[in-house]
């Protein structure tokens, strides 16, 4: 495990929401959240949905409220005696019913404890709101009482050995300081958060505090460190665009685009000219303001653009490569930029580049200048550049343009293979029917997004989202490219049925 590389941190996909509860028994319990649920102490009266055994928790201490329209959870403290701390801030009285509803995000820490959190009550209860924990997660307890320094990381020489690939070799160090600990980020690739906040260098850690490293949650309970061993995270992308306008809001380019893609999906984006394909791609890339949200692995891209932008890779239609550089040097430089020296040796980087070149089929071209390559080979280099950094989502704008039929199929097969490795690949293509598996004859795409320009508002709307065969049935066509004929306006050689298909899809969705 030690020799393997640290991967870019992508919090686990938004699985069903759950609560990780840790009380005095030091035994972590994961409780699934299923809609509105009450939380309180076990007692003889009517029980709450989520029960804990702690005298400092009220009988009906708080409530988890599910907003189905937004798919998010809120928490309300029912004016309990001891209150609830959310990420270290105590909920305040709002009205006789309770506190204000507080929207919960993945990793938020709810705590019922004394007002002085640095001196936790022995009966304190910690609950972590999670969108990334599996109920069958394995938890480990390590007694760290005898150590002055506790190293945490993927390396085998650490006291706390993590299996999470998002953890660096020695990711963090906890140093005892009196009754507390000081946690140091050891120059990790993906950072360390303490009680929901990313630490800058180091931070003081008290009993009952919660560390998060990649997808690993570590809770300090007295002299015990409780932590999970997450499986390799997969990914999901949720696109929720209410409206994308330009020209000071006078012109709408996209309207009401909502769909979700899971890792492993190879998604075809279809649409006529002006339907908003490029605008959609830009919105997913976070390039330009959009009224909506792009949720990648439970995190809002627009709100965390700086840290998340590198998780979405773009293979542009027009290549962005320096033509006077060799293929190998191009990839080495990208690896040197994306993968820091501390966590990746030169050998590991070269090994990674070799793997990518072999996967994409450009190993034999490694010493060629980009200017000496054909259009198709340049596209492959462009794809390889994106693969260096462990991105979760790849968007390819016409990766098959300018290629012959055989090369188009080969290019699509490479992209499909990337998707099969737990990535999301989205492709704009005008020759989608060439992307077929040669043995089964089935389309390589798993999902199809069809954008159509409505004659009513001139904006691009979602005319379909779903599987390939479903798409063909929806539009009554035998080939994917015939969908364009259905939705394109008559002056572009189509039947002009865009509005009908937009309405049909809207009504199907309800």
């Amino acid at each position: 495990m030690e020799s393997e590389k640290t991967v870019g941190f992508s919090p686990a996909p938004p699985l069903a929401a759950s609560l990780l509860i840790i009380d005095k028994r030091c035994q972590p319990t994961v409780v699934p959240l299923r809609g509105n649920m009450t939380f309180g102490r076990r007692h003889s009266g009517p029980p709450c949905d989520i029960l804990v055994d702690s005298p400092i928790v009220g009988r009906r201490h708080g409530e988890f409220i599910f907003d189905a329209s937004q798919g998010v959870y809120y928490y309300i403290d029912n004016n309990s005696l001891n209150g609830t701390f959310i990420n270290g801030v105590k909920t305040e009285y709002f009205n006789e019913r309770g506190s204000k509803a507080i929207r919960l995000s993945d990793g938020d820490i709810l705590r019922v404890d004394r007002t002085d959190l640095n001196r936790p009550h022995p009966e304190a209860v910690i609950m972590i709101f999670c969108l990334s924990l599996r109920f069958d997660e394995r938890w480990r307890l390590t007694d760290i009482g005898r150590y002055a320094n506790v190293t945490i990381g993927r390396g085998s020489n650490n006291i706390i050995k993590l299996t999470d690939m998002a953890a660096s070799r020695t990711h963090a160090v906890m140093r005892r300081s009196g009754i507390s600990w000081v946690v140091f980020d050891n120059g990790s690739s993906n950072g360390v958060s303490l009680n929901g906040r990313e630490i800058n260098g180091n931070a003081v850690m008290f009993d009952h505090d919660v560390l998060k490293i990649g997808n690993t949650v570590l809770v300090l309970f007295g002299n015990t460190l409780i932590y999970n061993n997450p499986r390799e995270s997969t990914g999901s992308l949720s696109v929720q665009i209410n409206k994308k306008t330009v020209d000071f809001g006078r012109k709408t380019l996209l309207s009401n685009i909502n769909f979700s893609v899971e890792s492993g999906d190879f998604v075809l984006i279809l649409g006529g000219s002006g339907a908003g394909k490029t605008t959609l791609v830009k919105a997913i890339l976070g390039d330009g303001k959009t009224d909506g949200r792009i949720i990648l692995n439970g995190q809002d891209l627009y709100a965390n653009f700086k840290s998340m932008k590198s998780q979405i890779g773009l293979v542009p239609q027009f290549l962005t490569l320096r033509v006077s550089d060799t293929v190998k040097n191009t990839l080495i430089d990208i690896a040197d930029i994306k993968l820091d020296r501390k966590n990746y040796s030169k050998q590991e980087k070269l090994q990674r580049i070799d793997e990518i070149m072999n996967k994409v089929g450009i190993k034999n071209l490694e010493n060629h200048l980009i200017s000496q390559l054909s259009g198709g080979q340049k596209k492959k280099v462009s794809v390889a550049c994106q693969l260096v950094g462990f991105q979760k989502v790849f968007i390819c704008d016409e990766p098959d343009s300018g290629l012959d039929a055989a090369s188009r199929t080969q290019q699509m097969e490479i992209l499909r293979e990337i998707a099969d490795n737990d990535k999301i690949v989205m492709v704009i293509s005008h020759e989608p029917d060439d992307a077929v598996d040669e043995t089964t004859g089935r389309s390589l795409f798993t999902k199809v997004v069809v954008l159509a320009k409505s004659s009513r508002d001139g904006a691009g709307h979602l005319a379909f989202y779903g599987g390939v065969e479903e798409a063909k049935r929806h539009f009554g066509v035998s080939r994917l490219q015939d969908i364009m004929k259905e939705i394109n306006p008559p002056y572009e050689g189509g039947k002009g049925l865009a509005d009908e298909y937009i309405d049909k899809f809207d009504s199907q969705r309800g």
Binding site: S307, P316, S324, D325, D333, D336
Partner: protein, 283 residues
Amino acid sequence: MKNTSLITQTHVYFKKVFRISLREKAWKYIIFAAIISFIVAAITGPDMFKNFDRTNSGYFTLCSACIWIGIFNSIQSVCREHEIIRAEYRQGMKLSAYIFANVCWQALLCLVQSAIIFSISCIFTDFGKSAHLLVNPYVEVFITVYLLTFGAAVLGIMVSSLAGTPATAMTIMPFVLIVQLIMSGVLFELKDASEAVSYITLSKWGMSSFGSISDLNGYHLAIEEPLRSSGALMPGVSVMPNKNEFYSHESARLFISWAWIFGLTVFSTIVSIAALKIKNRDS
């Protein structure tokens, strides 16, 4: 995911710029500098330090050549890569590292060019005849030539960062050069606003450096020579108008002038980074 440090990225991009520049025949910039220097030096010739007019013109020509060569080095360096920069910025490139790498490459290229400019100039002109302030005129003139060429190269990077396309950059370039030449204070007397603007031009501080090194104020005008030989002008009397304070033969003046050139270079670097940040600003 955290990206690699600024220093690491600058190193990576410097190697890249260096490698690509060599492949794209960077030596043509050196040949180009040699040709320009040869023409300039041949014109200024051995009589450069004969009188105020020849010295002033000689240094003005040298100053203009340095600025021209420097800007020409880099005017297309950034603007031709805007799409690549945008793509690499998304992948974690630090824009400041990219600019620093280009600045470092120009520092190296300009060092070679300055050595050539100065060497060729020395063939035609005996700088040993000139006055000096610190060590000897050769060292002082060379430092000025280098600072000017490098400053102009970074100015070129700035224009290139601001321009959207190579065509735009090449359209802007003549205007930048004209402003530099006019604002040197050699061709026209500068007053009020134009004088204020001249403070942010390399040519003004380049001429100030050359003027203070060679004690330009100490020279007599060419027109005095026939007057003296005819006896119309008494010895020790000069028709030279007011002495230019920027040419005063003082070490402090030279250091101030060099500091201005260096400061303008730093300013151009900062503006270049800011321009790229604005062009690639996050949503």
